[in-house]
Symmetry: C2
Subunit: 200 residues, 2 copies
Amino acid sequence: MADGLRERKKQETRIALSWAAVRLAVERGYGNVRIEDIAAEAGVSLRTFRNYFAGKAEAIAAREVDRMYAIAEELRVRPAEEPLWVAIRAAIEARYALGASDGGQPPDEHWVAGIRLMMSEPALQGAIAAAYAVAADELTAAVAERTGATGLYPRLVAEVIGAARSVVSAEWLRADPPRSMGDLLYEALDLLAAGLPEPH
Amino acid sequence: MADGLRERKKQETRIALSWAAVRLAVERGYGNVRIEDIAAEAGVSLRTFRNYFAGKAEAIAAREVDRMYAIAEELRVRPAEEPLWVAIRAAIEARYALGASDGGQPPDEHWVAGIRLMMSEPALQGAIAAAYAVAADELTAAVAERTGATGLYPRLVAEVIGAARSVVSAEWLRADPPRSMGDLLYEALDLLAAGLPEPH
DNA sequence: GTGAAATTTGCCGATTAGGCATCTTTGCTC
DNA sequence: GAGCAAAGATGCCTAATCGGCAAATTTCAC
């Protein structure tokens, strides 16, 4: 069951391509990767790559997007009587594996440096923002289901979560005395919950 | 002064290209416009187009981005003692010409339909989100200046304003009994100020 | 006016984009 | 478990895009 072999294989290919894209971009720099290389690295044809992604930026962004889908899914699974924002925090925590990824494996120097460089590429920031616009639909639906709200509210919540994601990951890359993803995320959510009051 | 003729001409060209892109995309559909056509419409060479924009999506998104820059600029101009969110609302109001554009010229049927269709293009939604990621830097700086805040706060405010923009314009296009941009925007900002409380 | 700096433009090769036909694999039925 | 229908992978092919480079043009400052 579980959607059969076909679906699973498709997901595997998608993820393989996405990881290959990230790896190559980090290793040799975003601009020096052709989608042909990515396809080769993942063991499929160039043409197949194009069946999955519109370009290398989208392939890289897919890692981020999938995480957002996962959060939406987690949100649907949590008990309905749980207050919305409690559920949201829990869903994010579950999918970002906060704490675990911090204490578990201190991120490798080279890797983080590569990611930092890669992310400084405007095309990528764009693609991530773009890809997230799609994922936001899922999150919007999940919020709508849970709250029964219509109109602006569900989408606004979804987009704000996206905003928090964006800010947090930017800050995580920038912060010199490194801060944990979890701290940053909670700080951002606390600010949002308070209505972003102007600091004294 | 005022940066001289050179800067002014460059802005004019940029805006001419951007409008040409929007006009053509609305008229004949996003997919049926080549950047060559846009350049011709604006009276410059294809190669010059590429000096200004990375692609047609970016050219279209530029209209939106410029508005964000204008809001950031407006924010800098407003009196420093004004509370942040009052200034933000005023800045948005000033640049979106709320009320004026609503009462002044009821949007043309064809035009709105064309815009709606154009905006449904995923590539465009992406490009707008992407382009906004850049404009957000300006807004972030303006908020930081005004509040003296550091860390997550300024960027979070900037991104949240972007989120509101995105949600509002999506809803504006969708709402069947049409709603005014001003109403939608204020509703969104009110929700945000309240910390997005879950509706009972 | 004159030279330095910035901008526009044409040219060109490399890469991307995506339609279409074909071949292979998977899922389902009997 | 054989066979058929649907879905995916791949190759091929043409149009379009991308971006570097250098020549020609325009603006700016002195």
